[in-house]
Symmetry: C3
Subunit: 204 residues, 3 copies
C-alpha cells in the first residue's frame, strides 16, 4: 500500500485528534474503555456527524482500517507515555491543525458532492474538523472548549470560505486551492495558539 502525501498528513491529523481524546480520558482517570472511546469519538466524531447529516452511511471510518489503526495506536501511545506525549504538545498542535485543515476541506467537498448550498458546505467542513472535540468535551462532562477558549472553528471557517471563494472566482488548479486553504487554516490556528488569540465572548 502506497500512501500519498495527503493521506500521510491526514493520518498525522487523525493521530493528533485521537491523542487529544486519549489525553482527556487520562485526565479524567478513565479506564481503557474510556481511553479508546474518547480517542475514537474525538478523531472520527466530526466526520461521523457530517456523514449522518448527509446520509452517507455506513459512515466512512467503519471501513477505514488505516484511520482506525492510527486511532488505536494513538490511544495506546498516549496511555503508555503520558508525560512524554505532553512534552511533544507543540508537535501535536501542529498535526492537530493540519488535521483541522484537511478535514475541513474533506467536509466541504462531501457537501458539494451531494449538491448542498455553499454556506452549508462550509458548515459541514467546520463540523467535520471540530465537532469531534465538541463530542469529547460533552461526553467527559467538560465545558466545550470549542465555544470558549480558542480560535479553532473560526480558523476552519476562514479557510473553508477561502476555499469556496478561490474555487468560484479563480481558475487555479484544485490542489493549489486546497493547499492554500489548508495552509491558511493551519496558520490561523497556530498563530492563534501562539499569540493566545481568543474570540470575544458574548456577555450580558
Amino acid at each position: 500500500m502506497q500512501l500519498t502525501f495527503i493521506q500521510g498528513l491526514e493520518l498525522l491529523g487523525t493521530f493528533a485528534f485521537a491523542v487529544s481524546g486519549a489525553t482527556a480520558a487520562i485526565n479524567k482517570s478513565y479506564d481503557i474503555i474510556g481511553l479508546l472511546a474518547l480517542a475514537f469519538v474525538t478523531a472520527i466524531g466530526g466526520g461521523t456527524i457530517r456523514d449522518l447529516l448527509i446520509g452517507a452511511t455506513p459512515v466512512a471510518w467503519l471501513t477505514d482500517e488505516l484511520t482506525n489503526s492510527a486511532i488505536i495506536a494513538a490511544a495506546i501511545i498516549a496511555a503508555l507515555f503520558v508525560s512524554y506525549v505532553k512534552k511533544l504538545q507543540n508537535w501535536l498542535n501542529v498535526f492537530d491543525a493540519i488535521g483541522l485543515g484537511l478535514f475541513t476541506i474533506t467536509g466541504i467537498n462531501k457537501g458539494v458532492a451531494v449538491g448542498l448550498p455553499i454556506p452549508i458546505c462550509v458548515a459541514l467542513g467546520v463540523i467535520t474538523g471540530s465537532f469531534g472535540g465538541l463530542l469529547r468535551d460533552v461526553i467527559s462532562g467538560e465545558q466545550p472548549f470549542l465555544f470558549t477558549r480558542e480560535v479553532y472553528a473560526v480558523a476552519s471557517m476562514a479557510g473553508g470560505i477561502l476555499y469556496i471563494l478561490l474555487g468560484l472566482h479563480t481558475s487555479l488548479p484544485a490542489d493549489i486551492i486546497q493547499s492554500v486553504s489548508v495552509t491558511v487554516i493551519v496558520a490561523v490556528r497556530l498563530f492563534g495558539l501562539h499569540y493566545n488569540w481568543h474570540l470575544p465572548r458574548i456577555r450580558q
Copy 2:
C-alpha cells in the same frame, strides 16, 4: 417568494427556538461559535434527530435557506440586543409555543408518511418539538429543563394525541384538525407557563 401563513408562523417558531439557544450561549459567555452552534442545535436539533431516526437524509434543514437565515438572524439579534431581547421574553414564549405546536405536527406527519406505528409518530412529534432544547442543555452542561421544570413536552404530547384522535375519529378537514391541535399545544404550554404548572417529579 410568497410565504404562507403557516410558513410565517414556523419561521417565528424557529426564530424563538434559536433565540433560546443563543441566550443559553450568552449566559455561558460562549464566543460567536458557541452562539451560532447553540442557536442552530436548539432550532434544528429535534427535527434532525427525527430525520436521522427515520432515515430522511440529507436532513431537512441543510437545504432550508429560510430556516437557516432565521436562525442566524436570531443569534445575531440575541447577541447584539441581549437586554432588549429579555424584555420581549413574553413574546418569545408565545412564538416558542407556536413553534412547539407546529413542529410537533410536522414530526407526526413525517412519521405517518413513512408508515410508523401511531404511538411512535406521536413520539416523533414530541422529539421534533422538544429535543432541540434537550441537546442545547446537554451540550452546555445544564440539567435538561425538559425533564424537570415545565409543562413542555407534555403539551406537545397532549396536542399530538389529540391530532391523531381527531384524524382517526372525525371527518374534519386536515387543516382544521391541525389548527385545533396546535392551538391546544400553545394553550397548554402558555397556561402552564403563566400558572407555573409542573409535572410531579418522581422521588424515592
Copy 3:
C-alpha cells in the same frame, strides 16, 4: 404471538436496561418525561447508534412494539415501586447482563450482515450493548460509568471476540456459538460485579 426463548430473554434484558434508565431519572427527581426519555435512551440508545452508523433506518426500535411496551412497563413499574425495585437489584443485574450479552451478538451480526471488517463488527456489538448507558449518563450529567466503574464493555468485548473466533475457527452450530458467547459475557459481567472487578484506570 409466540415468543421464542431468546426473544423472551431479550425482553428481560430490555426491561432491565430501561429500569436502569428509569432509576437514573428517579435519582435525579426528573418528571415523567425524563423518566420515559431516560428509560428509552438507555434501552434503545446503543442499538440506535449502531443502526445510524450503518445506515439501517428507520432504526429498529421504531417498529418494535414489544420492545417499546417493555420499556414503558419498566418505566412505570420503576416509578411506582422504587424501593421494591431496588430490592430486586440482583435480579436486574442478571437480566441486564443477559441483555448485554444478547445485544452484543445482535450488534455483531448486523455488522457482519453489511460486510464490515471484523474488529468493527465487535465494536458495533460493544456499542449496541453498552452505549445506551453512556447516553443515559451524558444526558443526565453524570460521569460515564462505562469509562470508570465496572467490567461492563470489556465483558461485551471479550464475548464478542470469542463469538467471532468460534465462528471462524470451529464448525460448531451457530446457536451453540451464540449461547457460549452470551454465557461468557454474562459470566464475566456478573463475576466482575460480585468480586468488584475494575479495569485499571489510567493515571498520569
